[in-house]
Structure formats: C-alpha cells, structure tokens
C-alpha cells in the first residue's frame, strides 16, 4: 500500500491568493482540499471560528461524507497552496489509508466535542435543579 504522503504529493495543487475563498458556506459538496502551505481562516455565519496554518489540514471532507452543504467558509489569509481532491468518494475507495486517517481525525474531533458537550450538559443540569428549587419556594 502506498504511503499517504506519496498519495497526497501526486494530487494536483491549486493556488489561492490572500482573500480568495477555498470553500464558501452553504455550497453543495465539492472538492476536498489539503493545505500544502499558507494560512486560512474558518468563518461560520460571518463569525471567525479559527485560523489554520497546519500543513496537511483537510477541508471539505465532512460535507463530502454527509453529502450535505458546507457548514463553514474557508478563506485564504496569505497565498495558499492546496492539494485538491476533485472526486472525494472515488478517491476514498481507491485509498483506504487516507480514509482511515481521516476517520481517526473525525473520531478525535467527535470525542473532543463530546467531552465539551458533556460539561455543558452538567452545568445545565445544575442550573435546572437550582431553578426547580426556586420555583417550588
């Protein structure tokens, strides 16, 4: 099996100027991008979520997997080079090693947000209990 780094290196590269959008929120699923160089920001409902400059960061994969519209925009802050996967589902079947690593990333994000969410739920329960007590009085 070919190592992932070689698979990615063989993908076509696209260049974006600062200010260009790699992905616009609420678009149908399209290309998946893997950052080769540069810095992007993630914007959701006009609110900046975070800035990403890590080489190898993947964008657009969730929308491809769920076959739903993109949930955020990705905008170049500097000139950006990105490896482009034009047919993500076919690519996935051809390269299980890439899907496996992506699944690991998704699982990590899922357990992070799960933990975060559990905390909000606990806070919420505490608040709910206190409010019930007040209502009873």
């Amino acid at each position: 099996m070919k190592p992932l780094i070689e698979i990615i290196a063989e993908l076509p590269q696209q260049e974006f100027a600062a200010g260009d959008f790699l992905i616009t929120q609420n678009s149908p699923p399209g290309n998946v991008y893997i950052i080769a160089s540069g810095e992007v920001r993630i914007v959701k409902d006009d609110i900046e979520i975070c800035i990403v400059s890590e080489v190898g960061s993947i964008f657009g994969e969730v929308s491809s997997l769920t076959n739903q519209k993109t949930t955020a925009s990705v905008q170049a802050l500097t000139p950006v080079k990105a490896h482009t996967i034009e047919h993500p589902m076919q690519f996935a079947l051809d390269h299980p090693v890439a899907v496996y690593l992506m699944a690991v990333q998704l699982a990590k994000r899922l357990s992070l947000i799960d933990a975060h969410f559990a905390q909000v739920k606990k806070d919420y329960q505490g608040l709910y209990r206190r409010l019930s007590q007040i209502s009873m009085i």
């Binding site: 997997l65 769920t66 998704l106 699982a107 899922l110 206190r130």
Partner: protein, 174 residues
Amino acid sequence: MSPFLQTLINLPVKKFEPGEVLIEEDTVNVPVFVLKQGRVLITREGVDICEVYDPGSLFGEVASLLDRPSSATVKALDQTEVYYITDPKRFAFDHPEALLEVAKQLARRMVAIDQHFIESKNAFEELQSQMAEADDPIPHPHKEDKVLGLWMKTQNGLVRHWHGSHKDAPDTHL
C-alpha cells in the same frame, strides 16, 4: 440491504439477551459491533443517553480508531444480534467501502452534535437569564413550561446525535 450491510454478511454474529451488556464503559480493546437487529440502550456514567435500533449502527468504532477505552456502555433491551469485527483495522483495509461508511457515520454524528451543541449553549444561556428572572418577585405564569421546553431540547439533541448516524442524511450510494 444497504451496500454497507452487505459487506458484513460473512462476519460472525453474536446474540445478546435483553439485559446483557455488549460493551462496558472504560474497557480497553473493545471489538467493533455492527447492529444486525434488535434494540440497545447507550448509557454513560449511569445516565441513559438513548436507544439505538437502526441496523448498521456501529458501536466501539471510536475507541478502536483512537486506541482508547470505550466511552459508553451498550446494553441489549430486546434480543439483539450484532456482527462482530475482532480486527477492525484489518477489516477496514480489506473493505474500503465499509471504512468509508464508518467515516460517513462519524461525519454525520459530528454535524449533528455540532448543531446540537450550539442549540444547547443557547438554551443554557436562556436558562441563565430565567434564573435571573426567578429572583424577580413578579410572577411568570409560563416559566416552568418554558424551562421544561429548554430542558427537553438538550435531551432531544443527544438522541439525534447518536441516531444522526442513520437518519439525518440519505445514504450516498457509491
């Protein structure tokens, strides 16, 4: 039968009686189970999270991908049959279409819980402002209904999070 379930038909099947535990919380090296038929209850730290009955639902896949102990308990509510994957990594590489289905389920759950997380945060903030009102001597006749409504919202979201794996998006046939 979905293309995903078809890749599983040669796997060993395990049967569980009502009340039997499929996966115990905080266990290392859990196998991956795929629901064939039946109904299970997911609990975490003694709290009921939701029931799952959709064939094709995965259990133990996050623990397996991350090499971590299981984060929830899965208990049979009815007679339940599951496909049993003892070597998930090897199975994944031998069956790219099954692996892709796993990634799809994870992505759907992430979208569902992301959305739900935002809703819960909003509900939480609304509840906090209700708290401020509770100290207010002016009576609010519908206050308890409203608080109950907010509470239900957080509960429903959790169910969606787990069931989101199957119900939120149509299967994109490969």
